[in-house]
């Protein structure tokens, strides 16, 4: 979001929008996060129950559970249970066979059940995710991208400003002209929330899954209230990341996918004029 060269942008002109570092990290993450989420779902399939506290196994109360019965699949969160037959807990694999694992084959890496296979993907790509985040965070701090473009400015978090931003989003009213070259407050909160909170929490709770790391850094697992709490937080943060990606893709399609994709590939963005959404 380098709007520096576009002091007075005219609608329809191409301006520089995303830095190279942003574009590289974006597409790097498009692959890495995708692999992490899907291999993570396979790892979850090995024990599709979540707990709070230090311990948690089959005879302990789970706050979330996905299970398959003879003919149905269920997702239970606390005391609320919904039937998920066909998607979670009871589904047909590519060969038409009934499976009772939690997440279906089309959502997992690998698609057939393999805990060791999923772990190999997950633990290798975790290095890439962490390295990418550290590199991007360091460069964004150094060139002030984080402070200038991603963190909400003073006054942006006031209730009136926030409310107007929410109302604009709800009406799918996208900014035009100069304003389109800066992130809105909700965008800033979403992007900085992922970069500052979700991704670091995912990486740190991921580390607490390791009994070796827990011996090395016992404070880390304490920070999250125990290993099973950390596993639950890991899953919740992953779900929020998936939600972010979903909203991100919907917003891309609604705000003009061609212009958005171009700006994230070439860095150039066509300044939208009034009353036009798609480029």
């Amino acid at each position: 979001m380098a709007g520096d060269k576009a002091d007075d942008p005219v609608a329809g002109t191409l301006v520089r929008r995303h830095r190279l570092a942003t574009r590289i990290w974006h597409w790097f993450n498009a692959v890495t996060v995708f692999v992490m989420l899907m291999s993570g779902l396979m790892i979850f399939n090995a024990h599709p129950r979540l707990y709070w506290g230090q311990y948690g196994a089959n005879s302990d109360p789970a706050w979330l559970e996905i299970r398959g019965t003879q003919r149905q699949g269920f997702l239970r969160v606390g005391n609320v249970q919904v039937e998920t037959t066909g998607v979670l807990g009871y589904w047909r694999d590519a060969d038409g066979r009934i499976q009772r694992r939690a997440f279906p084959g089309w959502a997992t890496i690998p698609s057939r059940y393999s805990l060791s296979g999923a772990r190999r993907w997950h633990l290798a790509f975790a290095w890439l995710l962490a390295a990418g985040l550290i590199a991007f965070a360091a460069s964004s701090l150094a060139n002030r991208h984080l402070q200038r473009d991603l963190l909400p400015g003073r006054g942006e978090l006031g209730p009136r400003h926030l409310w107007r931003d929410i109302a604009d989003h709800a009406r799918l009213r996208y900014p035009t002209g100069e304003k389109a070259l800066h992130y809105s407050t909700l965008q800033k909160l979403a992007y900085s929330g992922v970069i500052i909170f979700l991704l670091p929490i995912l990486i740190l709770t991921g580390l607490t899954m390791s009994p070796g790391m827990d011996a090395a850094w016992p404070w880390l697992v304490d920070l999250f209230g125990g290993r099973q709490s950390a596993r639950s937080i890991h899953f919740i943060a992953a779900a929020l990341t998936a939600l972010f990606i979903l909203v991100h893709l919907v917003q891309l399609i609604l705000s003009g996918p061609f212009n958005g994709l171009r700006s994230m590939i070439t860095g150039r963005y066509r300044v939208p004029g009034p009353k036009e959404v798609d480029a």
Binding site: I43, N58, P110, S111, L115, M213, A215
Partner: protein, 251 residues
């Protein structure tokens, strides 16, 4: 506009399908698996780098213990020989220590129980994701290793077990860093009683900085070796050989 959106949507769906089947194809490729596995070495070296050699796994109080400590894997080896041992209260069970050691030996359970013991309340983390906290009582492996005296060539300690999966015996291995760690014990007691059969009676390994599949149950032989390649499938453990789990179970 609509056609472009449709096009992008179709491309997106097609791409995700391609990516998924591509991931499965990559997963079957030996060279790609080798590439992913190279991260395993990186992970182990990085862990060793940040972990003090004798950094202890967290020990808990009795109030923190799981009400039920589930068992996993073999619940009973089920062989005639094992049933006879169990019926006799493991009076005639022998632990053999051999391989690259100066003084191969055989110890009875009475001899093992007479040795100095360590009690620890620790969290057991299964590779599947669950955890249980239990109390373990047993002889530090270091005492047994010192009694047998390692040859200079010894690099790994292998645990041979009385249980079998199909036609394969269960076995596991650890390196000397973990073998000599103060919390690494051969447990014969659990939760203030003798070790129950589903949890590995009469002797099981506790190696507290590793996942559950390393904690070999029904241990009848300890072998010191220079190299793991000659044993069974060559990868250092039953699950490593059969289902491609990582030898380093520290993560």
């Amino acid at each position: 506009m609509i056609s472009r959106r449709k096009l992008i949507g179709t491309l997106g769906l097609g791409a995700s399908g391609l990516i998924l089947s591509g991931c499965d194809r990559l997963d079957r490729s030996a060279s790609f698996r080798g590439l992913l596995r190279s991260a395993e070495g990186l992970t182990m070296r990085a862990q060793r780098l940040v972990t003090d050699r004798i950094a202890l796994a967290r020990e808990f109080s009795e109030a923190d213990m799981s009400p039920v400590f589930r068992s996993n894997g073999t619940a009973n080896p089920g062989t005639e020989a094992y049933a006879a041992h169990a019926a006799a209260g493991f009076r005639d069970w022998r632990l053999r220590i051999d391989g690259a050691v100066r003084r191969p030996m055989e110890l009875s359970m009475a001899q093992i129980r007479a040795m100095p013991a360590r009690t620890q309340i620790t969290r057991h983390d299964c590779v599947e994701g669950w955890s249980a906290i239990g109390k373990w009582h047993g002889v530090p492996l270091k005492l047994l290793i010192d009694a047998a005296g390692l040859h200079d060539s010894a690099r790994y300690i292998v645990f041979h077990c009385a249980d079998r999966f199909g036609d394969r015996p269960y076995y596991e291995s650890i390196d000397l860093v973990d073998a000599l760690h103060p919390q690494t014990i051969l447990a014969w007691g659990m939760n203030d009683a003798l070790l129950p059969i589903p949890n590995g009676a009469p002797l099981r390994l506790r190696v507290e900085r590793q996942l559950g599949y390393k904690h070999a149950k029904y241990v009848e032989r300890i072998e010191a070796v220079a190299d793991l390649a000659a044993l069974h499938g060559g990868k250092g453990g039953y699950w490593e050989d059969v289902a491609d789990y990582e030898w380093n179970a520290g993560i």
